[in-house]
């Protein structure tokens, strides 16, 4: 794809598709026609030159294609089901993209299906790339997308912006779907895959597009917090992979290769939500469970999901602002994890909290926090691996060895298992 076409694809795909869908009420047809129009552009623009108004050119080409297909269907007398399109969606243009996002990331779909459909419809990402992101074979992803499109049309998911009483909840679904796509790019697969990390960045683009719609609800604290969180995590992508292609964990990462512009933007967004960086500390504990931040600027996060993203972003921010791993403020991070555990009750958060507490110097408390987690995390190797590490630091070598052995048994990832084995062998066990 040429630069000009690539730019139109990145900026305009979602908006053009939203318009086509509103006009034709045919999801399948609109999507195919727009893809065809982009293919034609890729063929003809290099010779004929980039048209004066590229989006308009693409729209005209796509509409022509839709008409061809409708004529062919009329001949074949096949009647296709129509999408539910709100009356106003056919005239008002400003919220087109947001409507399409709310349709694709609808709670009537599973989050996995919603994430795939949103990447396809709103961002125009190819089925092959979406399959790669979610680590499934391409035919599996194609089938998942087909099923999702069919469900949306048959169930009557509307191309509409819901009422104000429902909209915040629906934007939370958008946030969940985006974050699912983001984390999928960082989920351990067969080795490290740089392309998947880049695809994770598309979730950031999605939230940017939603915020750029200018709809008053599109700048909700939930989406702002999520954008900050993803930027702060994604900024570390290049440091995650070593020269040998192996995964590099946070303490060993070369911090010069972090994307500091993205970190700055993430911190700035976070600052707007919490007053972080203005000399104040974020404490939500006093006001839980109303999830108000209690920060100086008085921003109140009334929704639990926003508070959850803010706390995760604050943890990422503490890592991001430490010049070296040794400078990390573990005491503050441990406190954020405590708040996050109160909010979510998640055993994985408690495990991370135990690590932070131990790193902050309180080994006994860290170990105590691991008690009672075994029933709730019966399969992960991370729990016994952390316990082994903390016991080894406490010089309880025999118990540490037993914990490491359980971790080695559960670990499915080869390099990680070798590391665990090395730690186990280094212990002084008679």
């Amino acid at each position: 794809m040429s630069d000009a076409l690539e730019r139109v694809w990145r900026d305009e795909w979602g908006r053009l598709l939203a318009l086509l869908v509103a006009q034709t009420r045919r999801l399948d047809l609109a999507e195919d026609a727009l893809a065809d129009a982009f293919e034609r552009a890729a063929r003809t623009w290099p010779e004929a030159g980039v048209p004066h108004n590229p989006p308009a050119w693409l729209m005209t080409a796509a509409k022509r294609r839709v008409l061809d297909r409708l004529r062919a269907e009329a001949v074949a007398a096949k009647k296709q089901p129509l999408l539910a399109v709100e009356e106003s969606a056919r005239s008002a243009e400003s919220d087109d993209l947001l409507r399409l996002v709310l349709l694709a990331a609808h709670p009537a779909l599973s989050e996995e299906a919603g994430a795939a459909l949103t990447l396809r419809l709103v961002l125009g990402i190819s089925t092959a790339d979406i399959a790669r992101l979610f680590l499934v074979p391409e035919p599996t992803m194609a089938a998942r997308l087909t099923r999702a499109r069919k469900k949306v049309v048959a169930a009557g998911v509307p191309l509409a912006i819901p009422d104000d009483d429902v909209l915040p909840e629906r934007l939370e679904t958008v946030a969940r779907v985006a974050y699912l796509a983001f984390t999928a790019g960082y989920a351990p697969g067969s080795g490290t895959d740089v392309v998947r990390a880049e695809l994770a960045g598309e979730a950031i683009r999605l939230i940017r597009l939603v915020r750029a719609t200018g709809h008053r609800a599109a700048n909700s604290p939930t989406l702002t917090a999520l954008l900050a969180l993803m930027l702060l995590q994604h900024a570390r992508r290049d440091a995650r992979v070593g020269a040998d292609g192996a995964l590099v964990l946070l303490p060993a990462q070369d911090r010069d290769t972090w994307h500091h512009d993205e970190i700055t933007e993430g911190l700035e967004l976070l600052g707007r939500l919490t007053g972080w960086g203005c000399g104040s500390r974020y404490t939500s504990s006093a006001a839980l469970p109303r999830h108000s931040t209690g920060a100086d600027n008085g921003v109140v996060l009334e929704r639990a999901l926003a508070a959850e993203y803010v706390l995760q972003a604050l943890i990422a921010a503490e890592h991001a602002r430490a010049p070296t791993a040794a400078d990390t403020d573990w005491l503050t991070i441990a406190d954020y994890y405590r708040q996050l555990e109160e909010l979510t009750g998640s055993p994985v958060v408690r495990l991370n909290r135990a690590v932070a507490v131990a790193e902050a110097g309180d080994l006994a408390h860290g170990l105590a926090l691991l008690d009672g987690l075994d029933d709730r995390l019966p399969h992960t190797h991370r729990l016994p691996a952390v316990r082994g590490e903390l016991l080894a630091r406490a010089a309880r070598h025999t118990e540490a060895a037993a914990a490491y052995e359980l971790a080695i048994e559960r670990c499915a990832n080869d390099p990680e298992r070798e590391q665990l084995q090395a730690r186990r062998d280094a212990l002084d066990v008679s």
Binding site: K79, A84, E86, H106, A108, A154, A155, G156, V157, P158, A160, P162, V166
Partner: protein
Amino acid sequence: MTKYLILLAGREGEWNDADPADRERWHQEHITFGREVGSAILGGEALDSADTATTLRRRSGTAELTDGPFAETAEHLGGFYLVEADNLDQVVKWCELLPEIYSIEIRPCIQIEGLDDPTPRSSAPPLRSSADTSRGPRTSE
């Protein structure tokens, strides 16, 4: 407009075993649903308990009757509404008026060629009269 079947499932006997005050509240919620949805309700009934169901399966020419519903589950179908709506969001909004005790399945109906109007005709008994708003489905009583 699409027709949607709203299936109300719940724990068998929950309605009958509940406090009279709860029953009255749930009853009122059905009445509110009936008032809000109005003429978009095409039909609806409360069903007798699942142990009164008979299931008919036909394979290779033989009809086999089984005592009981399709599937033995913790929740059983207790009633249904048939409504007409523009889209799913509208139906979900209406369903939020109904008692919390139900798991509610919302199914779009499809149109079948040659059967223009699959709704009951005049030969079928009226499912609901406007004068009798209390006649919605509840669970079996």
